[in-house]
């Protein structure tokens, strides 16, 4: 199953015409959701758990739960992508509760591109400053960063996953970015 690299292309169910959506079977819709969200879910869970092995397990569990519950999804209550990330979030939080382990966001995961030859010294310095600034955020703020920039959720999807209004999600994101930016400026 080949997936497009990088950020997801979006949700087929939410962007296709209504008639086309109704023609799709639940399996086809799930498969499309999986294709568009696999890497995003993994990125979000890995950021939250800060453990690649556990992130793989939780990602697989989240998709399995979504598959089992695909018939219960109510399109009127939101987009499939937000629904999927809600399941992934619950699975990740359950894993955190189970492990009772403190995960620090900026220490892991390591990126293969880290220290690449294409990165200049200034960019590397900037990246290091960002990581240090991320470490100063609260867990909830780091989760917002993970959902927005690692999972690629829209503000509306972010709001639905976190259980707040879209305005509230925008406010949280804006404040987090302001805090992060100030921390980066202080580091640099």
């Amino acid at each position: 199953m080949d997936l497009p690299p990088g950020r997801s292309e979006g949700v087929i169910g939410s962007e296709a015409p209504a008639g086309e959506i109704q023609m799709q079977s639940s399996w086809e819709r799930f498969e499309a959701l999986y294709r568009s969200s696999r890497d995003d879910v993994y990125a979000y869970v890995a950021t939250l758990l800060h453990d690649r092995g556990a992130a793989e397990d939780v990602t697989a569990l989240a998709f399995e739960r979504a598959y089992r519950r695909r018939m219960t999804f109510d399109r009127r209550r939101g987009q499939e992508r937000a629904w999927l990330f809600g399941i992934a979030r619950n699975a990740a939080l359950d894993e955190l509760r189970r492990r009772r382990r403190v995960a620090r966001l900026v220490a892991e995961p390591t990126d293969e591109r880290e220290g690449g030859v294409e990165d200049g010294a200034e960019v590397a310095l900037r990246r290091t400053a960002v990581r240090a600034a991320l470490a100063g955020l609260t867990p909830r703020e780091r989760e917002i960063v993970a959902l927005k920039f690692h999972a690629g959720l829209t503000n509306a999807e972010l709001a639905r996953v976190l259980g707040v209004s879209e305005t509230g999600a925008g406010t949280l994101l804006y404040r987090t970015m302001q805090k992060l930016r100030e921390a980066c400026d202080a580091k640099v």
Binding site: R7, W27, R52, Y67, R97, H150
Partner: protein, 426 residues
């Protein structure tokens, strides 16, 4: 209290968020937000990517639709187990309701309709006269008052008398007495006839009939007695058309037909049984004594006749004739006594009273046969029973459901709170 997400976006926040989205989409960004856009891009570059091996493994699982590979045990799904929780709880609640209904059946508030309805159009209220054992044969008085209040209007009486035939007397193996009152329970078994026992049987029956049907029911009594070859010793019928209507009968029937007669009288159309009492008395000793006295009297008479034949003087003859006269009287008296006792054994006495009153359930002329009216009545009762059971079940299920829903809601809230708390552990 205002929630933070009720607050409008801060000035410039909307523009900054739009710049973020534009930077992530690769579009041009206002120079005012260039640093923010650069930060967004760096954050996205920090995005962890799954390994190729994990991606391939998960792809394969999705292709199999998460089915376990052949030979691998299926992992238990907690949610799958929980899925049976609600139906299981419902079944448990249903069983609890059934137990409540079953155990509450004997209480004062029980669903009395669960008891089978009396057959033959006879209301179950007739069972007010419960079965009771008579304390002694002497206590076999009629249940209802025996004094007949005859009124001037419409009163009629009939009496018939006859000589009892030589019907064989039923002789039970047991002795003295047994009495029972009840309606319309199974008739007592006929008194068994032992070899030498002489048993006198009697019965009292109290009926209720509609005031306008006293005459009809009384006439049916005569017909039943005629059919069973019995005798109406006396009768009083007072038909007033109102609640004062009354009838009483003193009846004699061959003891062999007693039970059939009682059954027929208990099922007279237009009436229902108020009470019924059956009694027996063992008079074997009295019959035997009377027989012995009769034999002795006859032996004395025979001896006197022999002496008379041998008498030679007029004085002897006169004396013996006087003794013979007394002996004849004694024989006649003893014979009458013995015949009277045998007659009591051969014929059973029935005391029947009929009083006017409203019948709870009367299906004219129906007896125990099936009719549409009775079917509709039974159907109505079934519906009432079903509604009662459903009401009781709801009374149990609704509180159980509310408690279950409340517990589930609290459980979900606690679970959600714990999940959110897990974020603070990072």
């Amino acid at each position: 209290m205002r929630r933070f997400d009720d607050d409008p976006l801060a000035p410039g926040a909307a523009s900054a968020l739009r710049a973020l989205d534009a930077a992530l989409d690769g579009e041009a960004v206002d120079p005012e937000f260039a640093a923010l856009a650069e930060l967004a891009l760096i954050l996205r570059q920090e995005r962890p990517a799954p390994s190729a091996a994990f991606a391939a493994t998960l792809d394969a699982r999705v292709e199999r639709r998460f089915a376990a590979p052949a030979g691998a045990p299926q992992a238990p799904d907690r949610n799958r187990r929980l899925r049976w929780l609600a139906p299981g709880a419902a079944v448990l609640a249903g069983v609890a309701a059934a137990i409540v209904i079953a155990t509450g059946g004997s209480g004062p508030g029980a669903v009395r309709a669960l008891a089978p309805a009396a057959s033959g159009g006879v209301s179950s209220t007739a069972s007010a006269a419960a079965r009771t054992a008579a304390p002694s044969p002497g206590a076999l008085g009629p249940v209802s008052p025996t004094t007949a209040k005859s009124s001037a209007s419409g009163a009629s009486s009939a009496a018939a008398a006859g000589t009892p035939g030589p019907a064989p007397a039923p002789v039970p193996s047991g002795a003295s007495s047994a009495a029972a009152a009840g309606t319309p329970g199974p008739a007592p078994a006929p008194v068994s006839t032992g070899a030498n026992r002489q048993i006198v049987q009697s019965a009292q029956l109290a009926l209720m009939a509609e005031p306008k049907r006293i005459d009809d029911v009384a006439q049916q009594v005569f017909e039943v007695i005629g059919t069973e070859k019995g005798i109406v010793n006396s009768s009083t019928v007072t038909a007033t058309g109102d609640a004062n209507g009354y009838a009483s009968f003193q009846l004699s029937v061959p003891s062999a037909n007693l039970q059939a007669t009682m059954s027929a009288l208990s099922e007279l159309p237009g009436s229902r049984v108020l009470s019924r009492t059956d009694a027996t008395t063992d008079i074997t000793g009295e019959v035997g004594g009377a027989g012995i006295r009769l034999a002795e009297a006859r032996a004395l008479r025979t001896a006197l006749l022999k002496q008379l034949a041998a008498a030679t003087t007029s004085e002897q003859i006169t004396s013996l004739q006087a003794q013979l006269h007394d002996a004849d009287a004694s024989v006649a008296s003893d014979l009458a006594t013995l015949n009277g006792l045998r007659n009591q054994v051969a014929y059973s006495r029935i005391t029947l009273t009929i009083q006017a009153g409203a019948l709870a359930v009367v299906v004219p002329g129906s007896g125990s046969s099936f009719t549409l009216g009775r079917a509709a009545h039974d159907a109505g009762r079934v519906l009432v029973i079903v509604a009662g059971v459903a009401l009781i079940a709801l009374a149990v299920l609704i509180p159980v459901g509310l408690v279950t829903a409340l517990a589930a809601s609290v459980g979900l809230a606690i679970r959600r709170r714990r999940r959110e708390h897990a974020l603070d552990l990072i």
